[in-house]
């Protein structure tokens, strides 16, 4: 008994544990706490604001029986489409950054990272100005060809454009890391042994850069799954995504238990995917190149 208490004290005294404590306590209070609470609310009777009532499954039953599967389906399919579009868009750029650009790679990195530091709202608003009736696209077409392109805004393709645009760097940078993990010598060896370029790509580059591809794909998928601004700003009322439903349940409808159920389902889905990813990769190797 006292021996294990001593063990705990000596574990606590390690510099690593001491250094980890501030951020860990902070995230426990600000991240784990709210999530546990949302989980708790999902079992409270509908429209209640207290956590101290008899738990019930009625919210889960009502969410499943109502039409929320539509917004879930939209979110999942648009997120999947975003990943499928981003991979071929980003792979050549990532390949260039990891292999071809040399000292220019730093400049390309900065140019791609800078938009991340500009508010998402401003950038999406820029697309509104491009796509809106009499906007930059429509106005240019009218002036140049007398044709009109009114209507691309407030539609599903506009939302997809927004998602692809906003999450592009989140696919690109992991891909760069993934591709630079593939040793040049392996490719040379394969080439010397007569492998074609397609074979080298399929048998060597793709599998060896898989950790980067997985991180990029999953990061993009999860961020797009829970996105709110793209469908609000570029989609208008075209479709409702799951984050919209969660927001209206918590705010307009003032139904915390229902909003909590929807959050739990979204978090559960994302969580499953992230844990599956974390089981397959080693962070020390990817971030620290160890």
């Amino acid at each position: 008994m006292s021996a294990s208490a001593n063990d705990q004290v000596s574990w606590l005294r390690q510099p690593g544990v001491l250094a980890a404590l501030p951020a860990a306590i902070f995230l426990l209070l600000g991240f784990a706490g709210p999530l546990v609470m949302v989980f708790g609310y999902s079992f409270m009777p509908a429209r209640s604001f207290s956590l101290l009532q008899a738990p019930t499954l009625e919210n889960y039953v009502s969410v499943v029986s109502e039409s929320y599967y539509i917004s879930f389906a939209w979110s999942v399919s648009l997120a999947a489409l975003t990943v499928l579009l981003l991979f071929p868009i980003c792979y050549p750029v990532a390949y260039g950054m990891a292999r071809l650009f040399g000292k220019w790679a730093n400049l390309v990195t900065v140019l791609i990272a800078v938009p991340l530091l500009i508010s998402e709202n401003i950038r999406l608003f820029g697309w509104v100005l491009v796509l809106v009736k009499n906007g930059i696209l429509d106005g240019s077409l009218q002036t140049l060809f007398g044709a009109s392109a009114s209507g691309p805004l407030y539609s599903v393709p506009a939302i997809v454009l927004g998602l692809v645009y906003v999450y592009l760097p989140f696919m690109l940078f992991p891909l760069v890391i993934g591709i630079s993990m593939v040793p040049d010598t392996l490719k040379e060896a394969a080439s010397d042994l007569g492998a074609s370029r397609w074979q080298i790509f399929r048998e060597i580059e793709l599998p060896l850069s898989m950790p980067g591809i997985l991180i990029g794909g999953i990061l993009t998928f999860i961020l797009a799954l829970g996105s709110l601004a793209e469908s609000k700003i570029l989609g208008g009322q075209a479709i409702v995504m799951i984050a919209d439903d969660i927001e209206s349940a918590f705010t307009f409808a003032q139904n915390w238990p229902k909003g909590s159920v929807l959050s739990v389902l979204l978090i559960g889905l994302s969580g499953l995917i992230v844990f599956a990813l974390f089981r397959r990769i080693d962070l020390d190797q990817i971030i620290g190149r160890r």
Partner: protein
């Protein structure tokens, strides 16, 4: 011959594609900047009459001053606290070997993988259950949940390349823990601290989904922009947007120069030490 020619073609295609992708990333920013100089109340392209009057109006507006002040206070506090927490967090992440580190690495990164709008709503509930009135101070807390993990990740990259033998040497020479931190660890990690701090500031400055639910009656710049986009459009939206973008660009440039200067100074010092 033909092989090298085809690889040269691939090379040029990749360069052209990269330039296209970068141009794509900057299209909306150019659009916002253009709109801020258009005289018309509602944006029409091509722009027929140009003006800078919206800039004068924006500078004179007292409500814009309030917004900027709120956003600045939030971003400044987020930067200071995040860098402090993340500095030690990154040491635990990448420098020290301890039982539980692998688990810590995974858990601490979870908020990055989390939908921000849902996090904002969960925090709104959390504050209301704890009976905390939401204001810009609660937004500082909310931003940090998302930004501390990002800064830990950025700083860890620097920490991984840090040679622990340097700290041990200083200890052997009789330095105290505090002296080692101040004289060895901090200077070596300063590029990571600077880039982490820059990210913290700008990500907090531009954040919308977390602010939306956690600022209460206060309003940050991105919230105001969104509210005006949805209803009550004014050309001050692209104007304030352009000002924000220029501010961020200048800050990034300054930080980049400082970063380069630090690197050059360190290389110079190492060169003199070698002699």
């Amino acid at each position: 011959m033909s092989a090298s020619q085809s690889s040269r073609t691939t090379r040029s295609l990749i360069v052209i594609w990269t330039v296209t992708v970068i141009a794509f990333l900057y299209i909306p920013m150019v659009a916002v900047a253009l709109a801020s100089f258009s005289k018309q109340r509602y944006f029409r392209f091509p722009i027929s009459r140009w003006t800078t009057e919206w800039y004068t109006k924006t500078f004179e507006s007292l409500s814009v001053r309030d917004l900027l002040w709120t956003s600045l206070s939030v971003a400044a506090l987020v930067t200071v606290f995040s860098v402090l927490l993340a500095f030690f967090g990154a040491l635990a992440f990448a420098r020290y070997d301890w039982k539980g580190r692998k688990l810590y690495q995974r858990l601490v990164l979870l908020p990055i993988f989390f939908p921000q709008a849902v996090l904002g709503l969960a925090l709104l509930l959390w504050f209301s259950v704890l009976d905390v009135t939401t204001s810009w101070q609660t937004a500082v807390f909310a931003h940090m949940i998302w930004i501390v993990p990002i800064v830990i990740l950025i700083m860890s990259i620097q920490v991984y390349s840090f040679d622990p033998a340097l700290e041990e040497a200083a200890f052997d020479l009789g330095a105290t823990r505090w002296q080692v931190l101040r004289e060895v660890t901090l200077p070596i990690l300063s590029p990571g601290i600077i880039s982490g701090g820059t990210f913290a500031f700008l990500l907090s400055w531009g954040n919308f989904p977390l602010s939306l639910f956690t600022t209460g009656a206060d309003q940050t710049v991105p919230e105001w922009l969104y509210a005006k986009m949805v209803s009550g459009y004014t050309p001050m939206v692209p104007t304030l947007g352009t000002l924000t973008m220029s501010g961020a660009a200048i800050l990034i440039l300054v930080i980049y120069l400082v970063w380069m200067a630090l690197g050059a100074r360190r290389r110079a010092r190492m060169a003199t030490n070698d002699e």
